[in-house]
Symmetry: none
C-alpha cells in the first residue's frame, strides 16, 4: 500500500522551517510494510490544500495530513478535506462538550473559533488528543471506486507521535497485509563514522538480506539493522546474528544494543543505579548540559545528585573548592583545574563519582596555545582521578555536546 | 507567480534523509517575489515522477525539479518531464560531444547510460553544469493554455546552487514582474496560541494584504508577517504598521520584534548586559536546563555567572543555603523553598539577580496536594523576591521546558 504524507503550514514553505514529523511517520509506516511514495508540503491556503488532498486521493491509498487542526483562522485542514472528498463537516456535540470541560479545567475562555475543532468529516472517527486540544480524525472511505484511508493529525510533534502510535497504527495493522520486520539498533559513542564503517563493512556486507544503515550525529553512531521476513523468528534471528558479530568487532565502544535503543544518559543512570553509586558534576564550558541531559530522564534523582555550573572563576572556587592560585597558575582551562573540579564537586556533594569539565566552546576566547575546542574532562572516584584532553572541532553547540558526550562515556566506562 | 519545487530521490522518502536544497531555492525565489506554494518529494519511480510533474503543471506557473539527472537507471527526471508534457526527448549532438571531451579529460570510460545526459526536452535550453556532468534544462512552454516555466536542476547542493543563481535567476528576473517582500517576526512567551489569536485576529484580519501566521511551540508564540508590494518601502511600511499595532495590543508579552528574530535567552542576556547586571540560578526540577539554554549563547559569560543544580535536598542546603528545617516543614517543592533558592544562590554567587526553581517534572513523584506539573519559580534582586506558582501540563520534557521559559521570561520582565 502506498502512502502520501502532507505537511500543512505556510511556515513550512519559508526558507527557515522544515517538516520533520514525516521522518518519524515514515519510520513507523515502513515497519508496517507501507511505502511512502510522496510527501507534499502546502501552505494554509484552502484552495491549495484542497488541491493537495485531492491529488493524493488520486494517486495513493493512504493519505496523512499533519497540522492545520488548531483553532485559528488559518487552520483549514478539516474544510479542505471536506472540499476534496465532496462532503460536509458536522459539528460533533460530544467533542464540543469535551472542549468545554477541558477549557473549564484550565480556566480558559472558549472562543467561537475553538469550536471549529469539533467539526468532523462525515463518517470519520475521532482520534483523541490527550496532549493538546485539537482532536484528530480517521477516515475510511471509497473515492473514485477505491478504498482510501485518511488521517487528519495535529502538527506539534508531542501530539502527533502518541496519536499516530496509539490510535492509527493499531487501525492500520488490521488493514495492511502482514509482514514481519525485525530491527536492532547498536549505538556507540565517540567514534567517527568512516572509522566505524571501515571496521564493520566487511561484516554487514555479507548479510545482503539485512538492511544496515549508519547514522552519525554529534559523537554518536547509530547502526540500524533491519530484516524483513515472512516469520518474526526468522527476521529476528538474522538481525541478532549480525548484531553479535558487530558487537564483537566494536567491543566496548558499543553502549547500547537493546531492542529498544537507549540513550547514553539512560545507560549511565542504569549502571549507576545497578552499582548503588551516585554522581555529581561541575561544569564550566558545558554550562549545565550534562546535568540537563541526565535530569531529562525520569527517575534520575535516584543516582544523580546535582552539581554546579561554574562559568566564572569565582564560582569554581566557591562551589567546587578549586584553589584560586591553581586557576591563576594553570589557567581556568587546564588539566589541573578539570581534576580539581571533579575532586572538589565529589567532596562537596558526597557522591561516589565527581565529574569536572572545563574548556573553550568558542567562538571567541581561544588563542594559539589554547584554541577553541580544547576541553579537559575529569572523573574522580575519590581514590584516583582520570583526566583527558580533547580538541573538538565544530561550532559552539557541537563542542559543548561532544564534551558532554565524552564525559558521560567516561562515567560509563568507569562503571563497566 | 506561484512555484512548486519537486525533490526527486527515493532516499528522500526514507526516515533518514531530508531535502534541504529547497530551503535555499525558496529564499532566492522569495527575493524575486515568487511564492513557493507547494513542495513535493517523490521517489525514482517514473510513473510517480510523471504524476508529480503533471500535477505541478496543473497548479503553478513555475516548476523546479531537483535531482534525477545522473547517468544511472533510476535517473528518470528527463523521461518523466517528457511524459508529463506529452513531448519527446532528443539527443543533443553538442552535449554528447561535451560529455566525450569531459570524460577524456578525466580518463573516464563513457557508457551508453552516460549519454542519457544529452537527452533534451523539445524546445528546452541547456543549463551548463561546471561542477558536475549532468547539464540542467530550462523549459519555457505553453501547457493547458498557460505559460509554464520549468527547470530541471541536478540534486547535489554544490551543483544546484551555482546553476540556479547564475543561469536561472537572470532568466527569471526578465519574466517575473518585479515585486518586493518584507517580513517581520514577533515572539511572545508564555501565552496560549488561541488566547493570542483572539486578541490579535481583529487587528491582523484588517490587513488583508499582509500574510500573518501564528506558530506555537513550548511556551513560545511566533507571529510572522509577510507583505509583498511593488516597492520595498511600501512592503516594509505595511509589516511595520501591523507589527506596531500587534505589539501595542500584546504589550510586554512580546519579547522580540526585530527583523532577525531572537530567542528568549538571547534577549535576557542582552538586557542583562545593557543594565550591567549578572544572573545566577539554582535549579531543581529543571536540572540545568536554564543554565544550559543561557550558556548555549556565545558571550553569555559576560552576564551569566553560573549556579547550582540542586536535585537532592542536601545540595539545596549545601549550595544555596536553604535551611534544612524549611525543606522539612514546607517540602522541597514549595513557595518558600523556591524563594530561599533564589535568595541563597544570589548571595552565594554575588550576582545582581538570583533565580530558584523547584517543582515536580514527573512522571512520578506527584500526589493530590502537589501534582506533577506543579512548579514554583522565584527571582530575587536582593531587595525583594517574586515567586510564582505554575501548574504546567504535559510530559516531563514539556514541564521542564515551560518552567525554564517562565523563569527566563520573569528575568526579562524584571529587566524591562
Amino acid at each position: 500500500m502506498k502512502c502520501e504524507i502532507i505537511a500543512i503550514g505556510s511556515e513550512l514553505l519559508t526558507p527557515f522551517r522544515q517538516d520533520t514529523n514525516s521522518l518519524y511517520l515514515t519510520e513507523r509506516l515502513n515497519e508496517l510494510g507501507v511505502v511512502v511514495a510522496f510527501k507534499t508540503i502546502v501552505g494554509d491556503r484552502r484552495k491549495d490544500l484542497t488541491n493537495a488532498i485531492r491529488t493524493a486521493l488520486g494517486r495513493v491509498d493512504i493519505i496523512i495530513t499533519m497540522g492545520g487542526l488548531g483553532p485559528t483562522e488559518d487552520d483549514l485542514t478539516r474544510e479542505a478535506w471536506a472540499d476534496a472528498l465532496g462532503t460536509e463537516l458536522k459539528r460533533d456535540a460530544d467533542i464540543v462538550g469535551q472542549l468545554y470541560v477541558r477549557a473549564a479545567q484550565r480556566r480558559w475562555q472558549l472562543t467561537e473559533n475553538n469550536l471549529k475543532q469539533a467539526d468532523m468529516l462525515d463518517g470519520a472517527q475521532m482520534l483523541e488528543n490527550p496532549h493538546g486540544t485539537a482532536p484528530g480524525q480517521w477516515v475510511d472511505t471509497v473515492f473514485g471506486a477505491h478504498r482510501k484511508l485518511g488521517m487528519l493529525l495535529p502538527g506539534p510533534p508531542s501530539e502527533i507521535k502518541p496519536m499516530f502510535d496509539e490510535q492509527c497504527i493499531p487501525r492500520l495493522r488490521e488493514i495492511v497485509p502482514q509482514r514481519f520486520i525485525a530491527t536492532r539498533t547498536l549505538k556507540a559513542a565517540m567514534i567517527g563514522e568512516s572509522h566505524a564503517d571501515a571496521r564493520i563493512a566487511p561484516i554487514y556486507s555479507q548479510f545482503t538480506d539485512v538492511e544496515t544503515t549508519i547514522l552519525a550525529h554529534l559523537g554518536d553512531i547509530q547502526l540500524t539493522l533491519i530484516s524483513t521476513k515472512s516469520t518474526m523468528e526468522e527476521a529476528e534471528a538474522r538481525v541478532n546474528e549480525l548484531a553479535s558479530l558487530i558487537e564483537e568487532e566494536l567491543d566496548d565502544l558499543v553502549y547500547s544494543s537493546a531492542k529498544q535503543s537507549e540513550s547514553l544518559e539512560q545507560i549511565v543512570l542504569y549502571y549507576l543505579e545497578m552499582r548503588g553509586a551516585t554522581l555529581s558534576v561541575a561544569e564550566s564550558c558545558t554550562g549545565g548540559l550534562i546535568a540537563e541531559r541526565l535530569t531529562s530522564i525520569a527517575g534520575s534523582s535516584r543516582s544523580f545528585l546535582g552539581g554546579a555550573v561554574v562559568y566564572s572563576n569565582e564560582l569554581k572556587t566557591e562551589f567546587a573548592g578549586v584553589p584560586e592560585e591553581l586557576i591563576e597558575e594553570k589557567g581556568a582551562v587546564s588539566r589541573e583545574v578539570a581534576t580539581a573540579l571533579a575532586e572538589g564537586i565529589r567532596r562537596r556533594c558526597r557522591s561516589t563519582y565527581g565529574v569536572g569539565v572545563t574548556g573553550i566552546a568558542g567562538p571567541g576566547g581561544g588563542n594559539e596555545e589554547k584554541p577553541v575546542g580544547l576541553v579537559y574532562i575529569a572523573i574522580s572516584d575519590g581514590v584516583q582521578t582520570e583526566v583527558v584532553q580533547k580538541n573538538f572541532s565544530g561550532d559552539r553547540e557541537r563542542i559543548r555536546f561532544y564534551a558532554s558526550q565524552q564525559a558521560l562515556d567516561m562515567v560509563r566506562r568507569q562503571l563497566m
